[in-house]
Amino acid sequence: MKFLLVCSQGSPETTGNLGEFRIPELNSIAALFGFEINYPDPIDTTRPYMVIELAGEKEARLLGSRAISVKHIWEYWADARTYDDLHTIIKPRNDLYDPYTGPSTTWKFTVSGFARNINLVDQVAVINSFRYLGFQGDIKLKNPQCEVGVFEEYVRRTDKEKGRELNDMRWVWMGRKICDTKRNMIDVFDLKKRAYIGTTSMEAEVSLLMANQALAAPGKLIYDPFAGTGSMLLTSAAFGALTMGSDIDGRQMRGKKTNIGDSAAQYGIKDKIVDCVVFDVTQHPYRRGEIFDAIVTDPPYGVRAGAKRLGRKEKNGQPYVPKPVPGYENVYSHELPDYVPATLPWEMTEVIESLITYALFLLRPGGRLVFFLPTDNLHYSDIDIPVIPGMTLISNSSQDYGKWARRLITMEKSRSVSVEEEKGVEGLEGLDRGIRRLVLGESGGSGTSTPKEEGEKRPGHAGFRDRYFAHFEDPEAAVKSD
Protein backbone atom coordinates (compact mmCIF):
# COMPACT_ATOMS: atom_id res chain seq x y z
CA MET A 1 0.00 0.00 0.00
CA LYS A 2 1.31 3.46 -0.82
CA PHE A 3 1.71 6.21 1.75
CA LEU A 4 2.65 9.84 1.34
CA LEU A 5 5.18 11.16 3.84
CA VAL A 6 5.33 14.89 4.51
CA CYS A 7 8.90 15.32 5.73
CA SER A 8 10.84 17.99 7.48
CA GLN A 9 13.16 20.18 5.45
CA GLY A 10 14.99 21.60 8.45
CA SER A 11 14.07 23.33 11.67
CA PRO A 12 15.38 26.54 13.25
CA GLU A 13 16.90 24.78 16.27
CA THR A 14 18.96 22.34 14.24
CA THR A 15 22.18 23.32 12.51
CA GLY A 16 23.18 21.88 9.18
CA ASN A 17 21.00 19.98 6.73
CA LEU A 18 19.59 16.64 7.92
CA GLY A 19 18.40 15.34 4.53
CA GLU A 20 20.74 12.33 4.67
CA PHE A 21 19.22 11.22 7.97
CA ARG A 22 15.73 10.62 6.64
CA ILE A 23 16.03 7.27 4.88
CA PRO A 24 18.25 5.67 7.56
CA GLU A 25 15.69 6.72 10.18
CA LEU A 26 12.77 5.21 8.27
CA ASN A 27 14.73 2.01 7.70
CA SER A 28 15.68 1.81 11.38
CA ILE A 29 12.07 2.18 12.52
CA ALA A 30 11.04 -0.53 10.06
CA ALA A 31 13.81 -2.79 11.42
CA LEU A 32 12.74 -2.04 15.00
CA PHE A 33 9.16 -3.20 14.39
CA GLY A 34 10.09 -5.86 11.86
CA PHE A 35 8.16 -4.59 8.87
CA GLU A 36 9.21 -3.96 5.29
CA ILE A 37 9.46 -0.52 3.73
CA ASN A 38 9.95 0.12 0.02
CA TYR A 39 10.77 3.24 -1.94
CA PRO A 40 9.12 3.08 -5.38
CA ASP A 41 10.45 6.44 -6.59
CA PRO A 42 14.02 7.72 -6.94
CA ILE A 43 15.04 9.20 -3.60
CA ASP A 44 15.47 12.96 -3.38
CA THR A 45 15.64 14.23 0.18
CA THR A 46 15.70 17.85 -0.99
CA ARG A 47 11.96 17.40 -1.52
CA PRO A 48 9.57 17.18 1.42
CA TYR A 49 6.96 14.87 -0.15
CA MET A 50 7.88 11.22 -0.53
CA VAL A 51 5.91 8.09 -1.39
CA ILE A 52 6.73 4.85 0.37
CA GLU A 53 5.22 1.37 0.29
CA LEU A 54 4.14 -0.42 3.46
CA ALA A 55 2.00 -3.49 4.05
CA GLY A 56 -0.84 -1.43 5.46
CA GLU A 57 -2.16 1.25 7.79
CA LYS A 58 -0.88 -0.61 10.85
CA GLU A 59 2.70 -0.26 9.63
CA ALA A 60 2.11 3.40 8.79
CA ARG A 61 1.03 4.06 12.38
CA LEU A 62 4.05 2.18 13.72
CA LEU A 63 6.24 4.38 11.57
CA GLY A 64 4.46 7.42 12.92
CA SER A 65 4.94 6.24 16.50
CA ARG A 66 8.70 6.86 16.22
CA ALA A 67 9.46 9.10 13.22
CA ILE A 68 11.20 12.41 13.86
CA SER A 69 12.16 13.44 10.31
CA VAL A 70 8.56 13.07 9.09
CA LYS A 71 5.82 15.53 10.05
CA HIS A 72 2.75 13.44 9.20
CA ILE A 73 1.75 10.34 7.25
CA TRP A 74 -1.03 10.14 4.64
CA GLU A 75 -2.67 7.39 2.65
CA TYR A 76 -1.40 8.12 -0.85
CA TRP A 77 -4.12 9.07 -3.33
CA ALA A 78 -2.31 10.69 -6.26
CA ASP A 79 0.42 13.02 -7.43
CA ALA A 80 0.62 15.02 -10.64
CA ARG A 81 2.28 17.88 -12.47
CA THR A 82 -0.89 20.03 -12.59
CA TYR A 83 -4.29 20.24 -10.96
CA ASP A 84 -5.93 19.21 -14.26
CA ASP A 85 -3.92 16.00 -14.24
CA LEU A 86 -4.72 15.47 -10.55
CA HIS A 87 -8.47 15.77 -11.17
CA THR A 88 -8.22 13.35 -14.10
CA ILE A 89 -6.67 10.76 -11.79
CA ILE A 90 -8.87 11.36 -8.76
CA LYS A 91 -12.36 11.75 -10.29
CA PRO A 92 -12.84 8.11 -11.26
CA ARG A 93 -11.28 6.80 -8.04
CA ASN A 94 -14.51 6.47 -6.07
CA ASP A 95 -12.85 3.59 -4.23
CA LEU A 96 -10.62 6.13 -2.52
CA TYR A 97 -13.15 8.71 -1.36
CA ASP A 98 -16.64 7.14 -1.31
CA PRO A 99 -15.99 5.36 2.03
CA TYR A 100 -15.69 8.78 3.71
CA THR A 101 -18.31 10.92 2.01
CA GLY A 102 -21.36 9.54 3.84
CA PRO A 103 -23.57 11.88 5.90
CA SER A 104 -22.35 10.57 9.25
CA THR A 105 -18.61 10.93 8.56
CA THR A 106 -16.98 14.13 9.76
CA TRP A 107 -14.39 15.55 7.42
CA LYS A 108 -11.89 18.30 6.69
CA PHE A 109 -9.98 19.43 3.60
CA THR A 110 -6.51 21.04 3.91
CA VAL A 111 -4.58 22.80 1.20
CA SER A 112 -0.98 23.63 2.00
CA GLY A 113 2.22 24.44 0.20
CA PHE A 114 5.94 23.88 0.47
CA ALA A 115 8.07 26.98 -0.20
CA ARG A 116 4.93 28.98 -0.75
CA ASN A 117 2.04 30.19 1.42
CA ILE A 118 -1.31 29.41 -0.13
CA ASN A 119 -3.65 32.26 0.69
CA LEU A 120 -7.18 31.57 1.91
CA VAL A 121 -8.86 32.57 -1.37
CA ASP A 122 -6.73 30.11 -3.33
CA GLN A 123 -7.29 27.41 -0.73
CA VAL A 124 -11.06 27.76 -1.04
CA ALA A 125 -10.80 27.67 -4.83
CA VAL A 126 -8.91 24.37 -4.65
CA ILE A 127 -11.40 22.89 -2.19
CA ASN A 128 -14.30 23.91 -4.43
CA SER A 129 -12.62 22.29 -7.44
CA PHE A 130 -12.92 18.98 -5.61
CA ARG A 131 -16.64 19.37 -5.01
CA TYR A 132 -17.23 16.24 -7.06
CA LEU A 133 -15.90 14.15 -4.18
CA GLY A 134 -19.35 14.71 -2.70
CA PHE A 135 -18.74 15.00 1.04
CA GLN A 136 -22.12 14.99 2.78
CA GLY A 137 -21.06 14.88 6.41
CA ASP A 138 -20.27 17.70 8.80
CA ILE A 139 -17.01 19.60 8.58
CA LYS A 140 -14.96 19.11 11.75
CA LEU A 141 -11.74 21.05 12.07
CA LYS A 142 -10.34 19.14 15.05
CA ASN A 143 -9.89 15.36 14.67
CA PRO A 144 -12.36 14.70 11.87
CA GLN A 145 -12.85 11.10 10.86
CA CYS A 146 -11.43 11.89 7.44
CA GLU A 147 -8.91 14.59 6.61
CA VAL A 148 -8.08 15.02 2.94
CA GLY A 149 -4.90 16.92 2.14
CA VAL A 150 -3.66 18.56 -1.04
CA PHE A 151 -0.01 19.69 -1.10
CA GLU A 152 1.39 22.13 -3.61
CA GLU A 153 5.13 21.79 -4.05
CA TYR A 154 7.19 24.75 -5.23
CA VAL A 155 10.86 25.37 -5.69
CA ARG A 156 12.16 27.94 -3.20
CA ARG A 157 12.17 31.38 -4.84
CA THR A 158 15.30 33.45 -5.08
CA ASP A 159 15.11 36.94 -3.60
CA LYS A 160 14.66 38.42 -7.09
CA GLU A 161 11.57 36.35 -7.72
CA LYS A 162 9.86 37.03 -4.40
CA GLY A 163 6.60 38.89 -4.74
CA ARG A 164 6.18 38.12 -8.42
CA GLU A 165 3.14 36.29 -9.63
CA LEU A 166 4.55 33.06 -10.97
CA ASN A 167 2.57 30.06 -12.12
CA ASP A 168 5.36 27.73 -11.23
CA MET A 169 3.90 24.94 -9.13
CA ARG A 170 6.33 22.10 -9.45
CA TRP A 171 4.10 19.22 -8.41
CA VAL A 172 0.92 18.52 -6.49
CA TRP A 173 0.21 15.67 -4.06
CA MET A 174 -2.97 14.34 -2.46
CA GLY A 175 -3.80 11.96 0.33
CA ARG A 176 -5.94 11.05 3.33
CA LYS A 177 -4.39 11.60 6.74
CA ILE A 178 -3.32 8.55 8.72
CA CYS A 179 -1.41 10.03 11.64
CA ASP A 180 0.99 12.58 13.04
CA THR A 181 4.48 11.55 14.14
CA LYS A 182 6.83 12.07 17.07
CA ARG A 183 8.35 15.17 15.57
CA ASN A 184 6.90 17.22 18.43
CA MET A 185 9.44 15.53 20.71
CA ILE A 186 11.99 17.95 19.27
CA ASP A 187 10.18 20.73 21.08
CA VAL A 188 9.85 18.75 24.32
CA PHE A 189 13.57 17.95 24.34
CA ASP A 190 14.70 21.39 23.19
CA LEU A 191 18.01 22.22 24.88
CA LYS A 192 16.75 25.71 25.70
CA LYS A 193 14.09 24.15 27.92
CA ARG A 194 16.24 21.42 29.47
CA ALA A 195 17.06 21.52 33.18
CA TYR A 196 20.74 20.66 32.72
CA ILE A 197 22.86 21.22 29.61
CA GLY A 198 26.49 21.93 28.79
CA THR A 199 28.49 23.18 25.81
CA THR A 200 28.70 19.66 24.40
CA SER A 201 25.00 18.74 24.77
CA MET A 202 23.59 17.21 21.58
CA GLU A 203 20.78 19.16 19.91
CA ALA A 204 17.36 17.58 20.46
CA GLU A 205 16.46 16.59 16.90
CA VAL A 206 19.77 14.84 16.31
CA SER A 207 19.81 13.01 19.65
CA LEU A 208 16.30 11.72 18.89
CA LEU A 209 17.40 10.51 15.45
CA MET A 210 20.34 8.75 17.11
CA ALA A 211 18.00 6.96 19.51
CA ASN A 212 15.99 5.71 16.53
CA GLN A 213 19.15 4.57 14.76
CA ALA A 214 20.05 2.66 17.92
CA LEU A 215 16.63 0.92 17.92
CA ALA A 216 16.03 2.14 21.48
CA ALA A 217 12.97 0.45 22.96
CA PRO A 218 11.55 -0.92 26.22
CA GLY A 219 13.48 -3.97 27.42
CA LYS A 220 16.84 -2.72 26.14
CA LEU A 221 19.98 -1.57 27.94
CA ILE A 222 21.85 1.19 26.11
CA TYR A 223 25.28 2.66 26.88
CA ASP A 224 27.11 5.91 26.15
CA PRO A 225 30.87 5.78 26.88
CA PHE A 226 31.28 9.55 26.41
CA ALA A 227 28.16 10.54 28.29
CA GLY A 228 29.01 14.14 29.14
CA THR A 229 25.72 15.85 30.01
CA GLY A 230 23.72 12.75 29.10
CA SER A 231 21.87 13.88 25.94
CA MET A 232 22.00 10.43 24.35
CA LEU A 233 20.93 8.72 27.57
CA LEU A 234 17.85 10.93 27.80
CA THR A 235 16.45 10.30 24.32
CA SER A 236 17.08 6.55 24.38
CA ALA A 237 15.35 6.47 27.76
CA ALA A 238 12.49 8.51 26.32
CA PHE A 239 11.90 5.66 23.86
CA GLY A 240 11.73 3.20 26.75
CA ALA A 241 15.24 1.82 27.09
CA LEU A 242 17.26 1.69 30.30
CA THR A 243 20.49 3.63 29.88
CA MET A 244 23.95 3.74 31.41
CA GLY A 245 26.64 6.33 30.89
CA SER A 246 30.33 6.66 31.56
CA ASP A 247 32.87 9.40 31.06
CA ILE A 248 36.54 9.86 31.97
CA ASP A 249 35.58 13.24 33.43
CA GLY A 250 32.89 13.14 36.08
CA ARG A 251 32.26 16.86 36.24
CA GLN A 252 29.76 16.98 33.37
CA MET A 253 27.80 14.00 34.65
CA ARG A 254 27.76 15.37 38.20
CA GLY A 255 26.91 18.94 37.28
CA LYS A 256 27.00 21.76 39.82
CA LYS A 257 23.61 23.13 40.76
CA THR A 258 21.80 20.77 38.40
CA ASN A 259 22.73 17.47 36.77
CA ILE A 260 21.52 14.70 34.45
CA GLY A 261 19.02 13.55 37.08
CA ASP A 262 17.20 16.89 36.91
CA SER A 263 16.78 16.66 33.13
CA ALA A 264 15.62 13.07 33.49
CA ALA A 265 13.08 14.11 36.11
CA GLN A 266 11.88 16.90 33.82
CA TYR A 267 11.04 14.31 31.14
CA GLY A 268 9.63 11.76 33.57
CA ILE A 269 12.35 9.20 32.83
CA LYS A 270 14.41 9.38 36.00
CA ASP A 271 14.10 5.66 36.71
CA LYS A 272 15.41 4.82 33.22
CA ILE A 273 18.83 6.41 33.75
CA VAL A 274 20.36 3.51 35.60
CA ASP A 275 23.80 4.90 36.47
CA CYS A 276 26.65 7.16 35.48
CA VAL A 277 30.18 5.95 36.22
CA VAL A 278 33.53 7.67 35.88
CA PHE A 279 36.14 5.64 33.98
CA ASP A 280 38.33 5.53 30.88
CA VAL A 281 36.53 3.31 28.37
CA THR A 282 39.86 1.74 27.36
CA GLN A 283 40.29 0.71 31.02
CA HIS A 284 36.67 -0.22 31.52
CA PRO A 285 35.46 -2.20 34.57
CA TYR A 286 32.83 -4.42 32.90
CA ARG A 287 33.25 -8.05 33.96
CA ARG A 288 32.03 -9.48 30.67
CA GLY A 289 31.15 -8.60 27.12
CA GLU A 290 27.83 -8.64 25.28
CA ILE A 291 26.06 -6.54 27.90
CA PHE A 292 24.42 -3.78 25.86
CA ASP A 293 21.73 -3.74 23.20
CA ALA A 294 23.18 -0.55 21.75
CA ILE A 295 25.96 1.97 22.20
CA VAL A 296 25.02 5.55 21.28
CA THR A 297 27.61 8.26 21.58
CA ASP A 298 29.20 11.47 20.35
CA PRO A 299 32.91 11.04 20.97
CA PRO A 300 34.90 14.19 21.83
CA TYR A 301 36.48 15.67 18.71
CA GLY A 302 39.02 17.71 20.61
CA VAL A 303 37.32 21.02 19.82
CA ARG A 304 35.09 21.85 22.78
CA ALA A 305 36.12 18.77 24.73
CA GLY A 306 39.45 17.03 24.26
CA ALA A 307 39.52 13.27 23.92
CA LYS A 308 41.81 11.92 26.58
CA ARG A 309 42.78 8.64 28.12
CA LEU A 310 44.53 7.64 31.32
CA GLY A 311 48.28 7.53 31.08
CA ARG A 312 51.53 9.33 31.48
CA LYS A 313 54.45 9.74 29.11
CA GLU A 314 57.02 7.14 30.08
CA LYS A 315 60.44 8.45 31.06
CA ASN A 316 63.23 6.54 29.31
CA GLY A 317 60.87 3.65 28.58
CA GLN A 318 60.54 2.85 32.28
CA PRO A 319 57.06 2.06 33.61
CA TYR A 320 55.75 4.40 36.28
CA VAL A 321 56.41 3.39 39.89
CA PRO A 322 54.31 5.05 42.56
CA LYS A 323 56.27 6.92 45.21
CA PRO A 324 55.00 7.85 48.65
CA VAL A 325 53.82 11.39 49.31
CA PRO A 326 56.83 13.39 50.59
CA GLY A 327 56.92 13.30 54.38
CA TYR A 328 54.46 10.42 54.63
CA GLU A 329 55.97 6.93 54.48
CA ASN A 330 53.02 4.82 53.58
CA VAL A 331 50.63 7.22 51.92
CA TYR A 332 50.57 7.33 48.16
CA SER A 333 49.04 10.20 46.23
CA HIS A 334 46.83 7.83 44.21
CA GLU A 335 45.15 6.68 47.40
CA LEU A 336 44.08 10.16 48.48
CA PRO A 337 40.38 10.92 47.89
CA ASP A 338 40.89 13.93 45.61
CA TYR A 339 43.50 12.25 43.40
CA VAL A 340 43.18 13.11 39.72
CA PRO A 341 45.12 10.64 37.57
CA ALA A 342 47.36 11.84 34.75
CA THR A 343 45.83 11.80 31.28
CA LEU A 344 47.19 12.02 27.76
CA PRO A 345 45.54 13.38 24.61
CA TRP A 346 43.86 10.72 22.53
CA GLU A 347 44.00 11.09 18.78
CA MET A 348 40.79 10.88 16.76
CA THR A 349 41.65 7.87 14.59
CA GLU A 350 42.52 5.92 17.72
CA VAL A 351 39.34 7.07 19.46
CA ILE A 352 37.22 5.79 16.59
CA GLU A 353 39.07 2.49 16.15
CA SER A 354 38.88 1.86 19.91
CA LEU A 355 35.20 2.76 20.04
CA ILE A 356 34.27 0.32 17.29
CA THR A 357 36.39 -2.48 18.72
CA TYR A 358 35.03 -2.01 22.25
CA ALA A 359 31.54 -1.95 20.78
CA LEU A 360 32.26 -5.30 19.19
CA PHE A 361 33.05 -6.65 22.66
CA LEU A 362 30.32 -4.92 24.67
CA LEU A 363 27.39 -5.25 22.26
CA ARG A 364 25.02 -8.18 22.18
CA PRO A 365 24.89 -9.87 18.79
CA GLY A 366 22.59 -7.81 16.56
CA GLY A 367 23.22 -4.72 18.67
CA ARG A 368 23.93 -1.33 17.15
CA LEU A 369 26.73 1.19 17.51
CA VAL A 370 25.65 4.75 16.66
CA PHE A 371 28.23 7.53 16.74
CA PHE A 372 29.30 10.77 15.11
CA LEU A 373 32.50 10.91 13.11
CA PRO A 374 33.79 14.44 12.51
CA THR A 375 35.43 14.87 9.12
CA ASP A 376 37.32 17.49 7.21
CA ASN A 377 35.38 17.56 3.93
CA LEU A 378 38.50 18.12 1.89
CA HIS A 379 40.08 14.89 3.11
CA TYR A 380 37.10 12.65 3.73
CA SER A 381 36.32 9.57 1.73
CA ASP A 382 34.20 6.54 2.57
CA ILE A 383 37.22 4.35 3.21
CA ASP A 384 37.88 6.43 6.34
CA ILE A 385 35.30 4.40 8.26
CA PRO A 386 37.33 1.61 9.88
CA VAL A 387 36.33 -1.86 8.81
CA ILE A 388 36.21 -4.20 11.78
CA PRO A 389 35.15 -7.81 11.09
CA GLY A 390 31.91 -8.55 12.88
CA MET A 391 30.58 -4.98 12.58
CA THR A 392 28.50 -4.13 9.50
CA LEU A 393 28.00 -0.57 8.31
CA ILE A 394 24.26 0.22 8.23
CA SER A 395 24.27 3.94 7.41
CA ASN A 396 26.46 7.02 7.09
CA SER A 397 24.61 10.38 7.17
CA SER A 398 26.39 13.68 6.84
CA GLN A 399 25.40 16.79 8.77
CA ASP A 400 27.23 19.39 6.79
CA TYR A 401 28.82 22.59 8.16
CA GLY A 402 30.65 23.70 5.03
CA LYS A 403 34.34 22.92 5.40
CA TRP A 404 33.66 20.14 7.82
CA ALA A 405 30.87 17.74 8.55
CA ARG A 406 29.97 15.22 11.14
CA ARG A 407 28.74 11.89 9.94
CA LEU A 408 26.30 9.78 11.90
CA ILE A 409 27.61 6.24 11.52
CA THR A 410 25.40 3.28 12.38
CA MET A 411 26.97 -0.16 12.63
CA GLU A 412 25.43 -3.44 13.62
CA LYS A 413 27.17 -6.36 15.31
CA SER A 414 26.74 -9.54 13.37
CA ARG A 415 24.41 -11.98 15.08
CA SER A 416 26.82 -14.82 14.56
CA VAL A 417 29.79 -13.22 16.29
CA SER A 418 30.37 -14.23 19.86
CA VAL A 419 33.23 -13.22 22.10
CA GLU A 420 34.08 -16.83 22.82
CA GLU A 421 34.43 -17.64 19.15
CA GLU A 422 36.60 -14.62 18.55
CA LYS A 423 39.25 -15.52 21.13
CA GLY A 424 42.48 -16.05 19.31
CA VAL A 425 41.46 -13.82 16.42
CA GLU A 426 44.11 -11.18 15.91
CA GLY A 427 42.99 -7.69 16.78
CA LEU A 428 40.49 -8.85 19.40
CA GLU A 429 43.18 -10.12 21.76
CA GLY A 430 42.88 -8.77 25.24
CA LEU A 431 39.58 -7.21 24.29
CA ASP A 432 38.14 -8.10 27.64
CA ARG A 433 40.36 -5.54 29.24
CA GLY A 434 42.02 -3.38 26.70
CA ILE A 435 42.79 -2.94 23.10
CA ARG A 436 46.30 -3.53 21.83
CA ARG A 437 47.65 -0.10 21.16
CA LEU A 438 50.83 1.79 20.60
CA VAL A 439 53.13 2.13 23.58
CA LEU A 440 52.32 5.55 24.98
CA GLY A 441 55.93 6.76 24.84
CA GLU A 442 56.22 6.09 21.09
CA SER A 443 53.05 7.71 19.83
CA GLY A 444 54.17 11.15 20.97
CA GLY A 445 50.95 11.73 22.83
CA SER A 446 50.87 15.32 21.62
CA GLY A 447 47.50 15.18 19.93
CA THR A 448 48.82 14.84 16.40
CA SER A 449 48.06 11.73 14.44
CA THR A 450 50.58 8.97 14.11
CA PRO A 451 52.78 9.57 11.06
CA LYS A 452 51.61 7.53 8.11
CA GLU A 453 53.58 5.85 5.39
CA GLU A 454 54.36 7.92 2.35
CA GLY A 455 51.31 7.89 0.08
CA GLU A 456 48.98 6.36 2.68
CA LYS A 457 45.82 8.42 2.90
CA ARG A 458 45.04 10.25 6.10
CA PRO A 459 41.37 9.83 6.99
CA GLY A 460 39.16 12.92 7.18
CA HIS A 461 38.96 12.69 10.95
CA ALA A 462 42.72 12.40 11.55
CA GLY A 463 44.10 15.17 13.71
CA PHE A 464 40.63 16.68 13.63
CA ARG A 465 41.28 19.15 16.40
CA ASP A 466 44.25 20.70 14.64
CA ARG A 467 42.37 20.87 11.33
CA TYR A 468 39.41 22.56 13.05
CA PHE A 469 41.52 25.31 14.59
CA ALA A 470 43.37 25.78 11.30
CA HIS A 471 39.97 26.54 9.72
CA PHE A 472 40.40 23.51 7.46
CA GLU A 473 42.81 25.41 5.26
CA ASP A 474 44.41 23.25 2.61
CA PRO A 475 47.90 22.61 4.06
CA GLU A 476 49.32 22.22 0.57
CA ALA A 477 48.17 25.70 -0.33
CA ALA A 478 49.81 27.09 2.79
CA VAL A 479 53.21 25.60 2.10
CA LYS A 480 55.65 28.20 0.92
CA SER A 481 57.95 27.19 -1.87
CA ASP A 482 61.53 27.89 -1.06
Partner: protein, 131 residues
Amino acid sequence: MVRLLTQNLLSCPSTHCTYPSNFPLSFQDVETIEIVEAEYKEEFLRGFLNRLEWAALRKSAAELGNTDLPEESPDLAQPQDVSEEILKTLHHVLLEIQVKDGAMVCPSCKHVFQIKEGIPNMLLADHELRK
Protein backbone atom coordinates in the same frame (compact mmCIF):
# COMPACT_ATOMS: atom_id res chain seq x y z
CA MET B 1 22.42 6.23 41.84
CA VAL B 2 24.74 3.26 42.04
CA ARG B 3 22.16 0.63 41.62
CA LEU B 4 22.90 -3.04 42.09
CA LEU B 5 22.16 -3.63 38.42
CA THR B 6 25.26 -1.61 37.63
CA GLN B 7 27.41 -2.93 40.49
CA ASN B 8 26.65 -6.49 39.36
CA LEU B 9 28.30 -5.70 36.02
CA LEU B 10 31.44 -4.08 37.48
CA SER B 11 34.76 -5.65 38.41
CA CYS B 12 38.15 -4.13 39.21
CA PRO B 13 39.77 -2.91 35.97
CA SER B 14 43.34 -2.85 37.36
CA THR B 15 45.99 -4.67 35.37
CA HIS B 16 46.90 -6.59 38.52
CA CYS B 17 43.45 -8.18 38.71
CA THR B 18 41.60 -10.83 36.78
CA TYR B 19 38.04 -12.05 36.73
CA PRO B 20 36.56 -13.67 38.82
CA SER B 21 38.80 -12.75 41.77
CA ASN B 22 38.11 -9.05 41.15
CA PHE B 23 34.33 -9.49 41.41
CA PRO B 24 32.04 -8.50 43.02
CA LEU B 25 33.33 -5.24 44.41
CA SER B 26 32.51 -5.00 48.14
CA PHE B 27 30.58 -2.08 49.49
CA GLN B 28 32.39 -0.18 52.22
CA ASP B 29 31.74 2.91 54.34
CA VAL B 30 28.28 3.32 52.85
CA GLU B 31 26.88 6.52 54.32
CA THR B 32 23.70 7.05 52.36
CA ILE B 33 21.33 4.54 50.79
CA GLU B 34 18.12 5.67 49.15
CA ILE B 35 15.20 3.46 48.24
CA VAL B 36 13.62 5.02 45.17
CA GLU B 37 10.54 3.43 43.64
CA ALA B 38 10.84 2.62 39.97
CA GLU B 39 8.37 1.34 37.42
CA TYR B 40 8.39 -2.46 37.23
CA LYS B 41 9.73 -3.58 33.87
CA GLU B 42 9.05 -7.27 33.39
CA GLU B 43 10.35 -7.51 29.80
CA PHE B 44 13.64 -5.87 30.71
CA LEU B 45 14.21 -8.08 33.76
CA ARG B 46 13.51 -11.33 31.93
CA GLY B 47 15.90 -10.23 29.18
CA PHE B 48 18.60 -9.28 31.67
CA LEU B 49 18.67 -12.61 33.54
CA ASN B 50 21.28 -14.20 31.27
CA ARG B 51 23.76 -11.43 32.17
CA LEU B 52 23.16 -11.60 35.92
CA GLU B 53 25.51 -13.12 38.51
CA TRP B 54 23.06 -14.34 41.15
CA ALA B 55 25.39 -15.20 44.05
CA ALA B 56 27.29 -11.93 43.70
CA LEU B 57 24.06 -9.94 43.58
CA ARG B 58 22.77 -11.66 46.71
CA LYS B 59 26.05 -10.99 48.52
CA SER B 60 26.16 -7.32 47.53
CA ALA B 61 22.49 -6.80 48.40
CA ALA B 62 23.17 -8.22 51.85
CA GLU B 63 26.03 -5.73 52.29
CA LEU B 64 23.39 -3.03 51.83
CA GLY B 65 20.98 -4.64 54.26
CA ASN B 66 18.70 -6.47 51.83
CA THR B 67 18.23 -10.24 52.17
CA ASP B 68 15.17 -10.67 49.94
CA LEU B 69 16.85 -12.89 47.35
CA PRO B 70 16.77 -16.67 47.94
CA GLU B 71 20.07 -18.54 47.98
CA GLU B 72 19.11 -20.76 45.11
CA SER B 73 18.79 -18.91 41.87
CA PRO B 74 16.02 -19.73 39.42
CA ASP B 75 17.11 -21.31 36.13
CA LEU B 76 18.49 -18.16 34.49
CA ALA B 77 18.76 -20.00 31.18
CA GLN B 78 14.95 -20.27 31.07
CA PRO B 79 13.90 -16.66 31.68
CA GLN B 80 10.32 -17.21 30.53
CA ASP B 81 9.80 -19.68 33.42
CA VAL B 82 10.99 -17.41 36.19
CA SER B 83 8.12 -16.53 38.53
CA GLU B 84 6.72 -13.04 38.77
CA GLU B 85 7.44 -13.09 42.50
CA ILE B 86 11.17 -13.54 41.87
CA LEU B 87 11.11 -10.92 39.13
CA LYS B 88 9.46 -8.38 41.41
CA THR B 89 12.10 -9.06 44.07
CA LEU B 90 14.82 -8.69 41.46
CA HIS B 91 13.26 -5.44 40.32
CA HIS B 92 13.48 -4.03 43.81
CA VAL B 93 17.01 -5.27 44.47
CA LEU B 94 18.47 -4.33 41.08
CA LEU B 95 16.79 -0.99 40.50
CA GLU B 96 15.28 0.50 43.65
CA ILE B 97 18.26 0.47 46.04
CA GLN B 98 20.66 3.36 45.42
CA VAL B 99 24.00 3.96 47.11
CA LYS B 100 24.65 7.69 47.23
CA ASP B 101 27.88 7.93 49.22
CA GLY B 102 30.39 5.25 50.10
CA ALA B 103 32.90 3.08 48.31
CA MET B 104 33.39 -0.17 46.42
CA VAL B 105 36.55 -2.17 47.10
CA CYS B 106 38.28 -4.76 44.94
CA PRO B 107 38.42 -8.08 46.81
CA SER B 108 41.77 -8.82 45.19
CA CYS B 109 43.93 -5.66 45.09
CA LYS B 110 41.87 -3.65 47.62
CA HIS B 111 41.68 -0.59 45.37
CA VAL B 112 39.03 1.70 46.84
CA PHE B 113 36.59 3.19 44.31
CA GLN B 114 34.82 6.16 45.91
CA ILE B 115 31.12 6.78 45.33
CA LYS B 116 30.17 10.45 45.60
CA GLU B 117 26.64 11.72 45.00
CA GLY B 118 25.76 8.43 43.40
CA ILE B 119 28.61 8.44 40.89
CA PRO B 120 31.49 5.98 41.37
CA ASN B 121 35.02 6.95 40.41
CA MET B 122 36.69 4.03 38.66
CA LEU B 123 39.74 5.81 37.30
CA LEU B 124 43.00 3.94 37.81
CA ALA B 125 46.40 5.07 39.00
CA ASP B 126 49.27 4.91 36.49
CA HIS B 127 50.75 1.66 37.74
CA GLU B 128 47.37 -0.06 37.45
CA LEU B 129 46.81 0.72 33.75
CA ARG B 130 46.55 -2.09 31.26
CA LYS B 131 48.71 -1.42 28.24
